[in-house]
């Protein structure tokens, strides 16, 4: 019979048309899809042609990296002077004290490496025991940092905070600001959401006061007025004053970030835990905060980024942070005139940290947000 010949036979799929796949189609879709699109592409290509080759020539091809003094750079002015950065690298990263005591330089290096070893697994998704790592970073690491960098224990010579500088100081200022401001900020955010009118009013006043004032005014206040606030005899050195100012400032911003998370929690969570007979603190610590903090991590990280950049303002009140170090080095007699290299290096270091943090927070935001949006 014929039925055996009528059997359906699947033909192999044909390839998609040549002009819809591969890089040619991609270029056509993304660069030349219409007249305006083509025109835009051409304009950009022309601009690239104008600016990128000269920059690469200056920064890489003609750049100087050999030697240990400015004679090399002065001989070849057509390229960047990375020799300057190479020679001053230790000062820029660790400050004057550690740069001038080579036998001590392991201290900041160890401090930075331990930080790196703690933070890298934290940002990787699948690390086990993340909670413990985070706890170690927030609780144990500061102790370790003080022991190693400040010294005074285990026979490590003391390096006073006044001698800290460069990236080390920038790091210390922002780290203190971040970890001290976090609990303060959480308390303030809870206060702002509180039902007690006076607590609420105080939190709002505190938050809005610090948020309304520029950090530089606060730093002036910390460096000029802090000694006046205390009975004579009580005094802090400059770095600690800046840390106090930065922490107070940062706590207000952290509070607002946490408040965003608190607002996103459904009322039912609170009501359900009340119905179970939990008190305020148990409700808050066991039910509300774990959910709220998780949601607010991206915005908390964003306040970290802002703080990390803002620590550069301490250079105005005379601390030798990374920015001031770069500026001073490029104004010193040895390297006078190589400002661009100094600023570019400092900017690049800041950029790496901030970009890293912002990509992490964007990744988290994408993970938390699953809406369908217009491209």
């Amino acid at each position: 019979m014929a039925d055996s010949t009528l059997k359906f036979k699947k033909l192999p799929d044909r390839d998609p048309p040549e002009n819809t796949i591969g890089w040619i189609a991609w270029i056509r879709d993304n660069l030349f899809s219409s007249t305006t699109n083509t025109l835009t592409t051409l304009i950009f290509v022309y601009l690239f042609y104008l600016y990128i080759p000269p920059f690469i020539e200056w920064a890489i091809i003609n750049a100087n990296i050999s030697g240990t003094d400015r004679s090399v750079c002065d001989a070849n002015k057509s390229g960047a002077c990375w020799t300057f950065i190479k020679v001053r690298l230790e000062q820029l990263l660790f400050g004057l004290y550690f740069a001038s005591n080579p036998e001590q330089i392991w201290r900041p290096i160890v401090a930075f490496s331990v930080f790196g070893m703690l933070i890298v697994p934290l940002v990787i998704d699948k690390t086990p025991y993340k909670k413990w790592l985070l706890l170690a970073l927030l609780m144990l690491y500061p102790v370790l940092f003080i022991c190693i960098v400040y010294g005074g224990v285990f026979g490590i010579p003391v390096s006073d905070t006044g001698q800290w500088g460069g990236l080390l100081l920038t790091f210390a200022l922002s780290f203190v600001g971040i970890i001290v401001a976090l609990p303060l900020g959480i308390l303030l955010a809870l206060g702002r959401r509180s039902e007690m009118p006076i607590v609420k009013m105080m939190s709002v006043t505190y938050i809005e006061f610090w948020r309304g004032t520029p950090l530089i005014t606060i730093l002036f206040m910390a460096s000029v007025m802090l000694p006046l606030f205390f009975p004579s005899g009580v005094d802090f050195d400059k770095v600690v004053r800046a840390m106090i100012g930065i922490t107070l400032f940062q706590s207000a911003y952290t509070a607002e970030a946490v408040r965003g998370g608190l607002q996103a929690i459904d009322k039912g969570q609170n009501e359900a835990s009340m119905a179970l007979g939990m008190g305020y603190w148990r409700r808050t610590i066991l039910i509300i905060l774990p959910q709220a903090l998780k949601i607010s991590i991206p915005s908390i990280v964003n306040t970290f980024i802002a703080l990390f950049k803002d620590t550069s303002l301490v250079s105005i009140i005379g601390l030798l942070d990374l920015l001031k170090m770069a500026q001073n080095s490029s104004r010193s007699l040895d390297w006078n005139g190589y400002d661009i290299e100094g600023y570019l290096f400092a900017g690049f270091v800041f950029w790496i940290f901030c970009y890293g943090m912002s990509s992490y927070s964007q990744k988290l935001e994408r993970k938390l947000d699953t809406d369908r949006r217009v491209e």
Binding site: E208, F229, I316, C354
Partner: protein
């Protein structure tokens, strides 16, 4: 029935009252004792906290004060404060205008179909957003402008603007006849009122009949026509003062000295990166369904942008952008690094060092910024109330 009485220490009302009262007492006590210690500490250093120094003559020079006249040996401290405030407001306004235009441009470029344009905008945003503003200000001022801008003789010409190592020279309008120029401003105001009335009328007509007019185009051409015609009829009551190259420097016109120019430049670039990000977020916050629905009811592209996309996108874009304006104003205090004379530099720094009146001076500076901040949140609240989606 046995009534279980709540013990006193477990009564929530009483507990909350006791807690708040003790907190209030504690904070009030702390603040008061800090105030007392501060005043007595200042007195121990020979500084009596009072506002009498306001009327003393300031012994230093303020180089840039376009709105109030500065005379060394006559200008008092309180006038220096106002000069500083006005300079801050000047750079804030200039920065806000420029950053808004640049930010919208970059933000729209970021959502462009063109891959190169979109990636360039991304590069711009990620570069300038992730570096400290202070570093950028110093970079532009010291490493680029001071090092590479030509002396006045070889100024870079941009139309009527001249850029050189002293700063940017701009043309400024000059009032030639007071009465006539007032009348002219009156005409412009009247044309704005006319355009507003027209817009209201055409909106009403659209709602009742469905017929629409190109309102924006008509209003703009109406305002331009009225102001131009009245300007000619009144015989040009305003003139332009163009900067002219003298023997050593430019004369006439307005001037943005180099510190102000670099500050403005850096603030604009830094803030525009943030505004661009807001604009991108606003555009991509519109869900696909909105666009598809607009297409399916047959709206043209222009209608869709005007009636569906813009109202919803602006709702997302404007609030964070207004906060950016406040940030820009606060960030202008970094001028101190390049020596532009705004309020922190002349008041919280120089005047404070001269008089030692730390308490009053810092308080006034903070109050000024708090006023800016309160004003911003006032505007934001009004806006948020207006655009709030009315739900059931």
């Amino acid at each position: 029935m046995k009534s279980t009485k709540i013990p006193l220490h477990r009564n929530p009302k009483l507990r909350s009252f006791a807690l708040q009262a003790s907190l209030l007492l504690l904070v009030a006590h702390a603040l008061f004792s800090v105030y007392q210690t501060t005043v007595s500490n200042l007195e121990a250093r020979g500084i009596k906290t009072s506002t009498s120094f306001f009327d003393e003559v300031a012994p230093f020079k303020v180089g840039y004060s376009p709105f109030l006249e500065f005379k060394l040996g006559e200008t008092t401290y309180i006038e220096v404060f106002f000069i500083g405030v006005l300079n801050t407001l000047l750079v804030a306004v200039l920065g806000i205008l420029a950053a808004t235009f640049l930010g919208f441009f970059i933000g729209v470029m970021r959502t462009s179909q063109n891959w190169l344009a979109s990636k360039c905008a991304l590069f711009y945003v990620e570069t300038f957003r992730n570096m400290p503003l202070l570093l950028q200000i110093m970079f532009w001022n010291f490493a680029i402008f001071l090092a590479f801008l030509p002396p006045p003789k070889q100024s870079i010409e941009m139309g009527l603007f001249f850029l050189n190592s002293r700063g940017l020279h701009t043309p400024i309008p000059v009032i030639q006849n007071h009465l006539l120029s007032t009348i002219w401003f009156g005409f412009i105001f009247a044309s704005f009122v006319g355009a507003f009335v027209f817009a209201t009328w055409s909106k009403k007509r659209f709602e009742s009949t469905g017929k629409s007019l190109p309102v924006f185009l008509i209003s703009v051409s109406f305002i331009i026509a009225v102001s131009y015609i009245s300007f000619v009829i009144l015989g040009s009551p305003l003139g332009i003062d163009i900067p002219v190259l003298g023997k050593f420097n430019f004369k006439g016109g307005g001037q943005l000295p180099l510190p102000l120019f670099s500050l403005w430049f850096a603030l604009t670039i830094y803030t525009s990166a943030f505004i661009a990000e807001n604009v991108r977020a606003g555009i991509s916050s519109i869900s696909k369904g909105q666009v598809e629905a607009a297409r399916s009811i047959g709206l043209t592209r222009a209608q869709m942008v005007k009636m569906i996309i813009l109202p919803q996108a602006l709702r997302v874009v404007i609030p964070p952008t207004i906060s950016q304006y406040l940030n820009l104003t606060k960030n202008s205090s970094l001028a101190i690094a390049v020596g532009f004379e705004e309020v922190v530099a002349v008041w919280a720094n120089i005047s404070l060092n001269q008089t030692g009146q730390a308490l009053i001076i810092i308080a006034m500076t903070i109050v000024f910024y708090e006023c800016c901040s309160l004003f911003t949140s006032f505007i934001l609240n009004i806006y948020n109330k207006r655009v709030q989606i009315t739900e059931r």
